[in-house]
Amino acid sequence: MDCLLCHRQIRESWPLGFLMLPQKKRVTTTCSDCLVAFHKIDREMSCEGCGRQQNSRKLCQDCLKWQAKTTYDFSNRALFQYDEAMKTYMHDYKFQGNYQLRHVFDVTFSHFIGMQTEVDFLVALPIDRQTWQTRGFNQVTGLLTELSTTDLLVMDRQKKEKRQSQKKRRERLKTSNHFQIDVECPEQIKNKSILLLDDVYTTGRTLRHAAETLYAAGCRKVDSVTLCR
């Protein structure tokens, strides 16, 4: 198969003796030359609050501000650094809309989510109606394989308002909360633990809006995992 990113043929090297073992077939979608451009976050060197790569586990400046402003408990973990290579990838996947590119990270990301502490519900952040009409897919659920998520939230953004990604940082932080709970019986989520899933943690504004909505509905603990930070 050809590499999803550079379109060159992937040459797989099998170690000797490997062929003899019955292996579950795993398709390689991206060549190693392309993959080295992305950098994983080292947990021991990441902010305890948002998961960004730094030199210690201490809360970063942004997280200290959040701590001063909010009263609830919330933290994020991320798999990759949001560097140039990742920005290019996100541009092609999300904004250009090349849905095939979900396979570059879906297995790795789903595995990463699976390794987190067990929770009652996995909730992928929803996209609004207009995005469904133009992009045609939810970029978060695209990145998940065989993980069952529950749609506890809906997003209702006013037509005139810009998307988060079109805003400057300060504008983003001021955005109002458009998430609403979408469950038949509110008792279902009382005292439950939730892990929110998103593609990028930028300011944390969107994820915290979702968390606030869930806490207000009686959830016990809400945290999040993102592909990158």
């Binding site: 090349n98 095939q100 045609g136």
Partner: protein, 449 residues
């Protein structure tokens, strides 16, 4: 959007989009069959499972660089109305054409008037751009919409100022992938062939430069884009220095008429290719030794103080060959260059300034990079990397100057490959054509390939 943005174009808009103040024609973006879907912009067949979006929607990754085609959208278009302002004068260029350029340009004008396709086979250095001016002029005067397209961005960038200078009062739109300016509706357009996919029966005259710059597979897509971008009544002019099999077949089958510009502007024929066999040329350079044919070639260059280009098939050969040349000819200054070389421009300049005697290279270098009085040697001409088109281009580097319209073109190979044979044959053929022209014969024939 303005109404004229839709003239002869495929504009992607959401399926849910209510028509604007003017009535638009709406067309589907993809053809959905049982297992596959076909993109109606780039004509690629795609496997459904690989290009599916949620909810039974599909998209095309093949032409996504031009903006994504999906079943969520429709194409909107308006029939090309040729709404152009009439000018008193179009062509402001005052130059003179040679007799054969004049003959070709007449044939081209004729094909435009008749609305049929035509092939112009012009050797490198024949001045084909100038030859196009009268044809473009006539078409513009007739109110036709004209596009000049090339597969290469650098060629488009080079053509734009030349055309603007020749047609000073005509507005020209330049379209290519790296551009940020918005689209404008004008009578004359210069575009990369990729951009043609955005048009729909727009052009009365579509000129495709360097039609053989790409291999056959991509050529098929190019021919699709061409057919879609021109009007059904329009004509297409293909320009080439080395026609590929596909076009020659059409010529043979009389589906395509052809004009020859077999003579360079200075009137001399193309230098013909000499070949020398060297069975183990690669083994020799690995041992820092040069095949004797290369030695002879370099000795001649050294004695006559002529600059040279020495082509090798792969980047990995460059270092070996340079070492071997340095050892055998300590007085010759040479440097190596390859297409992705950061210092490519500087090295080309060294050659121009005669700071070096020659370049050892893997690349034909850009169009417009010409060294007037050089000799050329291709080491390993039978290697797969050299297509017959590339070999003809390489040979065409020699004899560009009227001061020295001849020169040596030497191919060193372990055997005569099909590409080498074809290159030799094509050059012989155009030289034969040039002679025929001289003797006043105008029989239309083509080589047997």
């Amino acid at each position: 959007m303005e109404k004229s943005d839709f003239y002869g174009r495929l504009v992607l808009m959401s399926r849910a989009e209510k028509n604007t103040t003017f009535k638009l024609r709406k067309m589907p973006t993809m053809l959905v069959s049982e297992k596959r879907v076909r993109c109606l912009r780039c004509n690629t067949w795609l496997v459904k499972a690989q290009v599916a979006l949620p909810h039974e929607e599909f998209y095309c990754p093949a032409c996504i660089q031009l903006g994504r085609v999906t079943t969520l959208d429709n194409f909107f278009t308006l029939v090309e109305p040729n709404h152009f302002k009439k000018l008193d004068h179009y062509l402001t260029w005052q130059g003179q054409l040679t007799t054969s350029q004049k003959r070709c340009s007449k044939e081209v004008i004729h094909s435009f008037q008749q609305g049929r396709d035509h092939l112009l086979w012009a050797v490198t250095g024949a001045g084909k751009t100038e030859m196009l001016f009268p044809g473009i002029n006539e078409a513009l005067k007739d109110g036709k919409r004209v596009c000049l397209a090339s597969p290469r961005v650098d060629v488009c960038l080079e053509l734009f100022p030349r055309l603007q200078a020749a047609f000073q009062h005509v507005e020209i739109t330049l379209l290519h992938g790296r551009q940020t300016e918005p689209y404008r509706y004008t009578q004359l357009t210069i575009a990369t062939t990729h951009q043609l996919l955005r048009f729909y029966h727009a052009f009365d005259v579509l000129i495709i430069d360097e039609v053989d710059a790409f291999p056959y597979a991509q050529n098929k897509q190019l021919l699709f884009a061409t057919a879609q971008a021109k009007k059904t009544t329009g004509s297409c002019l293909f320009l080439t220095a080395t026609p590929g099999d596909e076009l020659l077949k059409k010529v043979h089958q009389k589906q395509l008429q052809v004009s020859y510009l077999p003579r360079r502007f200075h009137g001399f024929p193309l230098p013909e290719i000499q070949t020398k066999l060297a069975l183990n040329w690669y083994g020799k350079i690995q041992n820092k030794k040069l095949p004797s044919a290369v030695k002879q070639f370099l000795k001649q260059c050294e004695e006559s103080k002529r600059q040279f280009l020495l082509f090798v098939p792969h980047i990995s050969h460059l270092e070996f060959v340079q070492k071997a040349v340095n050892q055998a000819f300590p007085k010759l200054y040479v440097t190596t260059v390859f297409s992705a070389d950061d210092q490519r421009l500087e090295k080309v300049q060294l050659m121009r300034d005669h700071e070096v005697n020659g370049l050892i290279t893997t690349t034909i270098l850009e169009r417009g990079v010409t060294f007037p009085e050089i000799d050329v040697c291709v080491l390993g001409a039978d290697d797969d990397t050299f297509s017959s088109a590339a070999l003809v281009q390489i040979a065409g580097r020699v004899g560009r100057s009227p001061k020295r319209p001849t020169g040596n073109v030497l191919f060193i190979c372990a055997g005569l490959s099909r590409s080498v044979k074809k290159a030799i044959q094509q050059i012989k053929f155009v030289n034969h054509k040039a002679k025929e022209e001289e003797n006043g014969l105008s029989a239309v024939s083509s080589p047997n390939t």
